[in-house]
């Protein structure tokens, strides 16, 4: 990708700060420096960058997630900012109103945190442990499959078709997750299996 170097050099002249003289050298004491401090401190300093892809539409803009903490080093990492990736050929750093606000999708107050369970007829969700939820789901599914899997059609042909449980897959999951999901759904015989491409 072409980097417009003349533009970069102008930015330096126009106030870019790589080689900026420190305030101390300007003759301000610490206290004075605080008083005359002008522009906000650059908030991405000392954050961790991660190359990512916007999860919304299929333009698949390159984004950079800036986080406090680095998951690769085993830290607990928290997103502090998200911005377009200038190196990306499609979006070249730009983002739409959704992509530009991705941080608040990741940090939405309505993110789900725990497995929840609603009993038949109940008017509320109640917390459930993962183990309890997964065991119960597996049991419900197996019981339904055992009861309703159509092994053979009238002609005696193996059809291995399970129509009484269906699944919708998410067209926002990764290819790898999708492949795992595909293996799961098709191997247990689910035929009512679609993703958003259907609608």
């Amino acid at each position: 990708m072409n980097m417009d170097l003349s533009r970069r050099s102008f930015l330096k002249l126009a106030g870019a700060g790589v080689a900026a003289t420190s305030l101390g050298a300007m003759g301000f004491s610490e206290a004075e420096a605080a008083e005359v401090a002008h522009v906000r401190a650059f908030k991405l300093a000392t954050t961790t960058e991660t190359r990512q892809t916007c999860p919304y539409c299929s333009v698949a803009c390159g984004i950079i997630i800036y986080s406090k903490g680095d998951v690769r080093k085993g830290d607990k990492a928290e997103v502090v900012h998200i911005e377009g990736d200038v190196d990306h050929p499609t979006n070249r750093g730009t983002l739409c109103p959704k992509g530009a606000a991705l941080k608040d999708f990741v940090k939405s107050p309505t993110r789900l945190l725990y497995p929840m369970h609603r009993k038949p007829g109940s008017d509320k969700f109640e917390r459930m442990s993962w183990d309890e939820a997964l065991d119960r789901i597996a049991r419900l599914m197996k019981d339904d499959r055992d009861a309703n899997l159509l092994l053979k059609n009238e002609k005696g042909l193996d059809v291995n078709r399970w129509t009484t449980t269906g699944m919708l897959a998410a067209s926002a999951t990764s290819n790898e997750t999708a492949w795992a999901t595909f293996k799961f759904a098709k191997s247990i015989g689910i035929v009512g299996f679609d993703n958003q491409a259907r609608v």
């Binding site: 650059f42 000392t46 800036y66 200038v86 730009t94 739409c96």
Partner: protein, 330 residues
């Protein structure tokens, strides 16, 4: 088409994450509100500008979104009142706003949906700064950025009155004035403003003012070739030019773009208020004070004489006698 394919781009590299010193400091100020004697800056930064090509704008509000995220503001979730503008006006939490106008071109009878990104124009002659009474609450850097220094802001709202474009808003939460900073914190480390970086169609571009003017020329030529005979650059001279400029398809009628001022300048009332009144007022008050002091020093004080005290006593005594006599009579 080889090298011309590249549009001017705001961002040429991803933002730095290593700690950096800001490069916009006190020494780069050319104006500071309520400050008469500002030292001459040691250097002149290249003037910058944001160019908003209204003809390329798709009204997607990415600029609004990016602005909120970069500046960590909290615009409220409002309601729909029948328009696409949300929030409905600039606020202390929304420094920029897409304004939508459905305009039927009388010449072609075609509908044109004019979408203008509103926000601080970063005037060369900033009315806000002129009006501001708080020293250092509003500053102008030699690259043209007009910035609000919130620590110094007293929240009086004079900048609101001073601005020819009706831009600053006073926060109800912390009572300080807010507006677009042209992302001074980004520019200070060599990045363009967040809105310009985000703009999907690069209707917003950022660079040196000179480059932006040149870029605008190309855009205007393109628009003219598409039948917009009055396409032009909006860089109003009344405020000394601006560091946010528009390419308009109908530059002869800026007012159709959600009341963009035709010939903005600092209001004569504000000029009088912050000019003649300020100086003459102070002079008159000082003179009056000095005059009285001089009069007090050199003129004889107006004193009551002993004689007058006696006259008064006489009068009182007489009155008392009179009264006693009347009482006796009664």
């Amino acid at each position: 088409m080889a090298n011309t394919m590249d549009s001017p781009r705001t961002a040429v590299s991803n933002p730095p994450v290593q700690p950096m010193e800001t490069n916009l400091t006190q020494r780069d100020l050319i104006r500071r509100s309520a400050t008469s004697e500002l030292p001459q800056p040691e250097r002149q930064l290249t003037p910058v500008a944001k160019l908003i090509d209204v003809s390329k704008c798709i009204g997607c509000k990415a600029c609004q979104s990016a602005c909120v995220e970069w500046n960590d503001t909290n615009p409220a979730v409002g309601e729909n009142v029948g328009v696409y503008e949300n929030p409905h006006d600039l606020t202390a939490d929304m420094f920029t706003l897409m304004r939508f106008t459905e305009w039927v071109n009388p010449e072609t009878d075609n509908l044109e949906w004019l979408i203008r990104k509103d926000g601080c124009m970063h005037c060369a002659d900033p009315g806000c700064l002129k009006a501001c009474p708080a020293p250092g609450a509003i500053v102008q850097y030699s690259n043209g950025i007009v910035d609000f220094i919130h620590d110094n802001c007293i929240g009086c709202g004079y900048c609101v009155k001073g601005c020819p474009f009706n831009i600053p808003r006073i926060s109800k939460a912390d009572h300080r004035a807010y507006k677009c900073t042209l992302c001074s914190d980004r520019v200070a480390v060599g990045q363009g403003p967040a809105c310009a970086k985000a703009c999907p169609t690069q209707a917003i571009v950022f660079g040196t003012k000179e480059d932006m003017k040149k870029h605008a020329e190309g855009r205007i030529a393109d628009l003219k070739s598409r039948g917009y005979a009055n396409a032009g650059l909006y860089d109003p001279p009344g405020v000394g030019g601006t560091h946010v400029m528009y390419v308009l398809h109908h530059n002869d009628k800026p007012q159709i773009y959600a009341d963009l001022p035709v010939d903005p300048k600092i209001s004569a009332v504000v000029q009088t208020w912050k000019g003649a009144t300020k100086y003459a007022g102070l002079a008159v008050m000082s003179l009056a004070a000095a005059g009285t002091i001089l009069h007090g020093l050199f003129a004889k004080a107006n004193r009551v004489s002993k004689h007058e005290e006696e006259e008064a006593k006489e009068l009182v005594d007489e009155s008392v006698e009179h009264a006693e006599k009347r009482e006796e009579d009664a």
